[in-house]
């Protein structure tokens, strides 16, 4: 049997590795996407004072510590049975909206954009953020840097630090914001709205206006009919910070909505011996292996999933784009994974509009940003939508507020099974007997998982940037017959 190893950062550095096995005829027999690292947060957070855990779990991922800090904050609120004041919730959501703008911007421009703006077969040297700047114009680089800077500025103003915020505690925040800060935040938010509109126009002009790209998006290679989950508010509109988790089947039928403390009725995790990461699935449907369809419990939790699982966006401009998204792509749900990039930009616009809404709320500068807990701590679940998927933190404590048990289901982990399936399908579609495995072809396999924006920074480290790949094709005896490298 032939074997192809795609080792994202080569075998020894590898923080994520794909093994492709070919049958005797040269067709793809199977693929394995392996995650080679475990750090054990669920163990070493036990014994810690519970107010520490939203700070400890930041260190799961330095790319999205804000998501862990928010899920952790909501979990410790629940542990103490305390409802933070409206201002505290708004400040947390404001920080989170600004973070979303920075994060989605980084992904679109540095990671996903190059495939579309430059084209999946463009020379490697051009298929990066610099290539985009050269093609679309220098000022765009400045806009991206400014957007990222503004997002981090708000995170620091409310969260105390640019990376690993520290201000969320049981019952609220350790600080509020001044009117002067509010004005600055509002100004930056208005920039974010303009930036999001600009990004959507860019996407429509360059991607939707190009038939080749549109065919690529709509084609079968990158399509999977799975279930979808995403957080929604009381009107079933997408929400990142608070609400219930909506679950829809591959036909778009809503199977139900669960509150954070009901997650174990809906979600379970499967273990395989060849990887450190677990595979979450819908418990009520069951684990049927790496297959799609309504009988398989495999689900997806991405920007595309959030749109599919909701009835719309809560802000006006994002709602307009939501409607255009589904009318262009032929109705709900959309199963084409590459449409995730478009969905991500619609979320960017929602986050920016929400940023302005919150920054202009008269109560945002109130000094009522804390509620002191009065009840004994017990157990609590906090859920937010991380950019890369629904993030669940579940804490148990003794009566002193010391953690006795911790359970975490991290954003990207939700998508581990669908990513594995997407990689297999792309490999099966693209690698055929007698086909030369070219760099462009490899990039098209890579595009299968890039759509999910996999942040194995949460388990490993796939940060935005070109992901290096090395493919070794082996003959039946395991001897390498062809080696191809991309960015290695």
């Amino acid at each position: 049997m032939q074997r192809i190893t795609i080792d994202p950062i080569t075998r020894l550095e590898g923080h994520g590795k794909i093994e492709i096995f070919l049958d005797e005829a040269g067709n793809v027999a199977n693929t394995y996407f392996q995650i080679p690292e475990l750090r054990g947060f669920e163990r070493f957070c036990v014994g810690r004072q519970i107010e520490e855990v939203p700070i400890l779990t930041n260190r799961i991922c330095g790319v999205c510590p804000e998501a862990h800090h928010m899920a952790g904050a909501k979990a410790v609120d629940a542990v103490y049975h305390v409802d933070p004041p409206r201002t505290a919730k708004m400040l947390r959501e404001l920080l989170y909206s600004a973070f979303y703008c920075t994060d989605h911007t980084t992904h679109f421009y540095a990671l996903a954009g190059p495939d579309f703006v430059m084209g999946p077969d463009a020379p490697v040297a051009e298929r990066n953020i610099l290539g985009i700047i050269h093609k679309v114009g220098l000022e765009i680089g400045g806009k991206v840097i400014t957007m990222r800077k503004y997002g981090h500025a708000v995170v620091e103003m409310i969260g105390g630090r640019k990376v690993h915020p520290c201000t969320s505690i049981p019952g609220g925040l350790t600080k509020g914001i001044t009117e002067e800060q509010r004005q600055e935040i509002e100004k930056m938010g208005r920039y974010a709205v303009e930036f999001a509109l600009f990004s959507l126009k860019l996407f429509k002009d360059i991607v939707l206006g190009n038939k080749t790209y549109l065919d690529l998006i709509l084609g079968d290679i990158y399509t999977h009919r799975t279930h979808y989950i995403g957080m929604v508010d009381e009107n079933n509109k997408v929400n990142f910070y608070d609400g219930r988790i909506s679950v829809v089947d591959p036909n778009g039928k809503r199977l139900g909505k669960y509150a954070p403390n009901e997650y174990t009725e809906w979600i379970a995790e499967h273990v395989e011996p060849w990887t450190y990461l677990k595979f979450p699935y819908l418990k009520k449907v069951g684990w049927k292996g790496f297959v799609d369809g309504e009988d398989s419990g495999v689900y997806c939790a991405t920007p595309l999933s959030r749109l599919n699982a909701s009835d719309g966006m809560a802000t006006p401009l994002a709602q307009e784009n939501y409607e255009e998204f589904y009318s262009t792509l032929g109705g709900k749900p959309v199963h084409q994974r590459l449409a995730t990039h478009w969905a991500r930009l619609i979320e960017l616009l929602y986050a920016a509009e929400r940023w302005v809404e919150l920054a202009t709320d008269p109560e945002i500068t109130s000094d009522n940003f804390r509620t002191l807990p009065t009840e004994k701590p017990t157990e609590g679940v906090g859920i937010v939508e991380a950019p890369r998927g629904t993030l669940t933190h579940h804490y148990w404590t003794d009566e002193r507020g010391v953690a006795t048990k911790i359970n975490l289901i991290v954003g990207t982990t939700n998508n581990y099974a669908p990513i594995s399936m997407s990689v297999k399908k792309a490999a099966q579609s693209l690698i055929k007997p007698g086909t030369a495995v070219t760099e462009g072809l490899l990039n098209m396999v890579e595009m299968a998982f890039r759509a999910y924006d996999p942040c194995f920074g949460c388990a490993t480290h796939s940060l935005p940037g070109q992901m290096p790949l090395e493919v070794t094709i082996r003959d039946a005896q395991g001897n390498p017959v062809q080696v191809l490298k991309q960015h290695c």
Binding site: M1, R3, T10, L12, E13, F21, A29, N30, Y32, P36, E37, L38, G40, R43, F44, G47, E51, E52, L56, R59, C61, G62, P65, V76, Y80, I145, G160, R161, K162, V163, H164, C166, T167, I169, P170, G171, L173, T174, T264, E269, H270, V271, E272, P273, W274, T275, K278, P280, W287, R370, P373, N407, I409, G457, H461, L463, G465, Q466, G478, C488
Partner: protein, 331 residues
């Protein structure tokens, strides 16, 4: 020197969260100075990895390597040895590489406990008790993943380190200052500090940078932050909130106390402090306002997790390094 005449620069992550890389990207336009003065030969986050190129380089041919992340498995150790061999100056960058950071609290538990927890949680359906295996045979062939070490280790417990740059992550203004210094050295306008020096940080404690007013520390009760509304102007420790400021190196501008949150100690031991936990316990003992053993015990009950509070960032780099159970007598 590279063919373009510029000295070579590398940055690498081992077991880490990626926050150090974000902190470097947050120096914004300063990144261009790095590009102008160095040939960036290896930096997985920002550019093509060129891992094979590193192996092919002559020993000592990289002038400066910033290494972040702790040593958690055999692959981390391998890259640490490789980059040591290829680099003239190896900097332990960020808390994980310096002292293990929070993930080193895993050193309190045996590896088996970590597996028994992670693969048997309330949401995990694992009736057969499956755990990941370094080598596993699937129908199509054998699959491999790196084996984990029993404990987290710091970079200098594996290879020789030339300089230490603390922080979780290092603050961007400190990163920018270090880059400025190295560029000056390259132009013959400054000298490198002696090997072993802590760079990109201050020489005193976070307390010295903290704007809060300090007066008499006499504590009758330790408070958890969720139970009090601390005065925004007064020293948090004086208000009974355990703060790592007295034992922690300066350099961050006391960001957390300024935001109403106690120092968590991410900049590591202050100058002359061998063990943060021991230093902090001394500081705590000295502020307890009682001579009655029973009362002292009651006061200390206000800190239910001393291991986590005193060794939050530095267990791997401390004198303790690990619990007996965690160490298991091997690495």
């Amino acid at each position: 020197m590279s063919s373009n005449g510029k000295p070579k620069f590398a940055m690498y992550w081992a077991a880490s969260c990626g926050g150090c890389e974000i902190a470097v990207l947050n120096i914004h336009e300063k990144i261009l100075d790095v590009d102008a003065n160095f040939d960036v030969v290896f930096w997985p986050v920002a550019m093509d990895a060129k891992y094979k190129d590193v192996e092919a380089m002559e020993d000592g041919s990289i002038l400066l390597t910033l290494f972040n992340g702790a040593i958690r498995n055999e692959e981390n150790a391998h890259v640490a040895h490789l980059l040591r061999q290829k680099s003239k100056i190896l900097v332990a960058f960020g808390s994980c590489a310096n002292e293990g950071c929070m993930p080193a609290l895993a050193n309190l538990s045996p590896l088996q406990d970590i597996f028994d927890t992670a693969y048997h949680t309330i949401s995990t359906d694992n009736p057969q008790g499956i755990h990941p295996q370094p080598s596993f045979t699937v129908p199509e062939g054998d699959l491999y993943i790196p084996a984990m070490y029993p404990v987290v280790r710091t970079l200098d417990q594996v290879v020789k380190v030339d300089y230490y740059m603390p922080g979780c992550p290092p603050e961007s203004h400190q990163i920018a200052a270090v880059i400025d210094l190295v560029i000056k050295v390259l132009h013959g306008e400054a000298q490198l500090p002696p090997p072993g020096t802590v760079i990109g940080a201050g020489g005193s404690t976070v307390c010295d940078e903290c704007a809060r007013k300090r007066d008499v520390k006499a504590i009758k009760k330790f408070e958890r932050i969720q139970h009090v509304m601390p005065d925004p102007e007064i020293c948090l420790l004086e208000q009974g909130i355990l703060c790592s400021g007295p034992a922690t190196r300066s350099g961050c501008n006391a960001l957390c106390p300024a935001a109403g949150s106690p120092c968590i100690g991410c900049y590591g031991p202050a100058e002359g402090v061998l063990d943060v936990g021991a230093r902090l316990m001394t500081a705590v003992a000295s502020v307890i306002d009682s001579n009655d053993p029973n009362e002292i015990e009651r006061i200390l009950d206000g800190i239910p997790d001393p291991a986590g509070m005193f060794y939050r960032f530095n267990l791997a780099g401390s004198l303790l390094r690990a619990s007996k159970a965690g160490w298991q007598g091997k690495v």
